[in-house]
Symmetry: C2
Subunit: 240 residues, 2 copies
Amino acid sequence: MLLNYQRKLITQLSIKKYRIQNRLFVAEGKKVVNELINSDWPFEILLSSEENFHPKAELLNLEEMERITHFKNPSPVLGVFVLPESQKIIAETTTIAVDNISDPGNLGTIIRLCDWFGLSELICSKTTVDCYNPKVIQASMGSIARVRCHYIKDLGASLTALKKPVYGATTQGDSIYKAKLPKEASYVFGSESHGISESLLSHLTGQLSIPQFREGGNSAESLNVANASAIFLSELFRSS
Amino acid sequence: MLLNYQRKLITQLSIKKYRIQNRLFVAEGKKVVNELINSDWPFEILLSSEENFHPKAELLNLEEMERITHFKNPSPVLGVFVLPESQKIIAETTTIAVDNISDPGNLGTIIRLCDWFGLSELICSKTTVDCYNPKVIQASMGSIARVRCHYIKDLGASLTALKKPVYGATTQGDSIYKAKLPKEASYVFGSESHGISESLLSHLTGQLSIPQFREGGNSAESLNVANASAIFLSELFRSS
């Protein structure tokens, strides 16, 4: 049986304010919860509608899971995990940064992409959706366990302080297929609708873009930001 | 004023059965609706909460838009468009096919990617989410006006009939960075959770994969299918 205060807590954790107040966040789905547990991420509550999921998991029926899920459909597993303390940027050779990303699915898949390409941190502007939002956690498919998101107030100054070139993905930049993409550099991706913010543009060493391949007439104005990041990361690491 | 039968119709069009019965689908959002109108896509109803959107648009207040939207938040523009007749596959040099994609956002962004890379058709298995689903339309960001989706019962046989090699994106295939990727070929992407279906695997000329870059220990098991398609398309066209 889930206690009333627990049910209330889990529901509240869909909101950032309560995640910060309680220093907790919710992860749903077997894969994500398993990845967090396997990486020794501390948890407070573990619930499952399936027996034998984990020795510490409390058994709940699906109806109860339906009452607490942050999604349309409940998953058989839900965990309440401890929000980590903020850490210093370790400054890997290649740094990926996002500016003002608002869609949780986009941020989650960018975290997953960073993981795939072997990166362990992602720099986010303070205006970017919170990485402990349940939808980000779900879209990251467990990669949140390996990619630390740092939220930074002044993205431009922080990236400049890393003392390596800062490239921005824009629609007017040099073709990524022709420009030299140094491994030791930062690459910034801007918001879905407005691109990289004005104040950040002045901090860029250069602008890069994925060329359009449709000839003549109308065509797509832009790519989805997660897809654009995927292409940039592939182009950066393909010759490793 | 929206008439009752129109309101009912628009609401029903969130369901595929009613889209087929009425030969109509709904598009929401200024950009998507504009792109469809600019490509001379025939429409039945055009609604806007903003004056001067289009001479044929009926003015509706936001509350009324809220009652008919297929999304959480209404957009200022909604159009009811005519479902096109099915057409023959034109068989471009490069063919992209999707097998069993269930997430509307993924299908929509794959349509947008095809548009970006200059392709005009996408072959979908019958088990793939309907491209006239409102969420697919939205995620395609208007690219549905330039990329025709063909729904095929036997994807394997149809791709084989195109008489060019058929490559599948799998987790065990040859690295796309090392293999030769012929322009004249079909490339198939499988479902988010199960990959390419068993019956289709036997029709493949070869399997290709995006190598993992994280060394040692745990890492992401797979990439989001739209991100994987983005990387494949970039790799295919980068040397054009």
